[in-house]
Amino acid sequence: MNILVCISRVPDTASRILIGSDSKTIDPAGIKYVVNPYDEFGLEEALRLRTKNGGEVTAVTVGTAASTDVMRTALAMGADKVVLIKSENEPTDSFYVAKNIAELAKEISPDLILCGRQSVDYDSFQMTSVLAELLDMPSVSIVSALTVDSDKLTAERDIEGGKETVEAPLPCIISAQKGLNEPRYPKLPDIMKAKRKAIEERDAIPSEERVTISEMSILSKQRVGTILSDSDEDIAELVRLLHEDAKVI
């Protein structure tokens, strides 16, 4: 079974975000970049399926040369092959990323493609469905349990207030949700070995930018900021404020 895993390089979720001088992207200074946490669930699932069924796991990312570090992480975790589709700038358009990955997928014809539920930078939740549509494949997103048979899969997908069980034939695309597995930590010898492994590079094919970002700002809401004590009177005052001022109870 050949599996393609899509990976993106994102700021660690503990990072504080500051706006860059172009007012459109973030200031990368001081930010620690990591493999998108949801992509780690995807990669882990791929590695487990390989252990069970054999085959090859290829990890792909679309990004600048800076993405080399997350490609090394993928190799250290156990990917057989990594492909960096190089773009001039850090891509922000999901369609562009999906289009480039679709081209690679057409070459290697994977039985299964795994993505993360969302990339925690632009949070667009698009890759899985766009890629699936471009490749004319079924897909299931936000998957927290997966069973793969020789020609079909059964996935449990998180929905509001419950779960759906979805069946689809292979080849198919899945987006991984937390809970799917516990991603492994790469061992030191594997990290060292990964440094010597080859990263296949190719140039991204240009495509139209379907969405343009004109401005980035820090999302903040002016909050009332009334701080009270734990006295009975103050607790009663909080209830009054929520009832009469905020009108939420």
Binding site: Y38, S129, A132, M137
Partner: protein
């Protein structure tokens, strides 16, 4: 812009609240851009469709098919895209819920449309929409414009207000051209978390943090949530400790929520947690530590021990709600 199509979802005898929110947003944009709006409901009933009129939508198409058992995202995407083409709609709106987030990107490929997901504002100026969309888990937001002729947006649930605006709704039926081949991915069963309200659907949420100390202490959180008719949430620390299920996790690697009232009990306010609650209308923090970061990002705060404050708060809220 020529025309807006809204994707509707049914629930019991009506539509989902998220669908009414999208209807309200769509009718408002349509009024500003002087275009019309049509809704599309896949495999729904006339009774369900008619309720769209309560929020000002006057035209709904019911697309009935039987190629998929319960539901198929791939078939739905084809139906919505075909419907947009047939109706001459160049703008399609979805709720950014589980179904919308899965179907909208497929429709965007079929219509060669730019798509902005999880919008929290749609501003119209001279017929052009500028969307505001949170990024980096809500730590920042971008203004985004679609460059293509066709445009698609999904709207973050609970952020847009469903405004009552009663009108007569005409319901049309159509038979979509879908075959088994369009329904490769099929939902075979649905399990509901019985009796438990999901944080994504709740108007009030009470979440507990590490300060709850042990899983059996969660009853004080549940009691307050019950008194509010709301849902129980949890911080990442509590979920990672195995005290609460992941379905309750609020924050950047959990669920992004936007209730009217969010109560954070013994949650310090780590940047990942705050990112998931920025679009909540009112945030209340209860924490022993007066220097906890959450106190600088809340509307109301109580400095105190949750084991002392929460039960009292629950009683007082019950008294107000009668």
């Amino acid at each position: 812009m020529k025309k807006i199509l809204v994707y509707l979802e049914a629930q019991k005898d009506a539509l989902k609240r998220s669908s009414y929110e999208v209807i309200s947003a769509a009718t408002q944009i349509a009024a500003e851009a002087s275009v019309s709006v049509t809704g599309v409901l896949v495999n729904g009933t006339e009774q369900q469709a008619k309720t769209a009129g309560e929020y000002g939508l006057t035209d709904v198409i019911i697309a009935k098919h039987n190629v998929a058992g319960i539901y198929s995202s791939t078939a739905t995407a084809k139906i919505v895209a075909d419907c947009a083409k047939a109706e001459g709609a160049d703008c399609v709106l979805f709720s950014g819920n589980a179904a919308g987030l899965e179907v909208a990107p497929r429709v965007s490929v079929k219509l060669e449309a730019g798509y902005v997901a999880d919008c929290v504002e749609l501003n119209v100026d001279g017929g052009t929409i500028t969307a505001l969309k949170p990024v980096y888990g809500g730590k920042a937001a971008v203004k985004a414009k679609v460059n293509t002729e066709n445009q698609i947006y999904s709207l973050r649930p609970n952020v847009f207000t469903a405004k009552a605006n009663p009108a007569d709704c005409a319901v049309r039926e159509m038979s979509p051209e879908v075959s088994a081949d369009d329904a490769k991915a099929q939902v075979t069963s649905v399990t509901k978390n019985e009796g438990k309200l999901d944080v994504l659907e709740a108007d009030a949420i009470v979440s507990g943090g590490r300060g709850i100390k042990a899983p059996e202490n969660y009853n004080i959180i549940e009691d307050l949530a019950d008194a509010l008719g709301g849902a129980v949430g949890a911080s990442r620390a509590v979920v990672d400790a195995g005290w609460r299920p992941h379905s309750e996790q609020v924050g950047q690697t959990g669920k992004t929520v936007a209730p009217s009232l969010y109560i954070a009990a013994a949650i310090s306010g780590a940047v990942q947690h705050m990112a998931g609650i920025t679009t909540s209308k009112f945030i209340v923090a209860i924490n022993k530590d007066k220097d906890a970061p959450i106190f600088s990002a809340c509307d109301y705060g109580i400095v105190g021990d949750i084991f002392d404050v929460l039960p009292k708060l629950t009683e007082k809220i019950k008294a107000v709600k009668g």
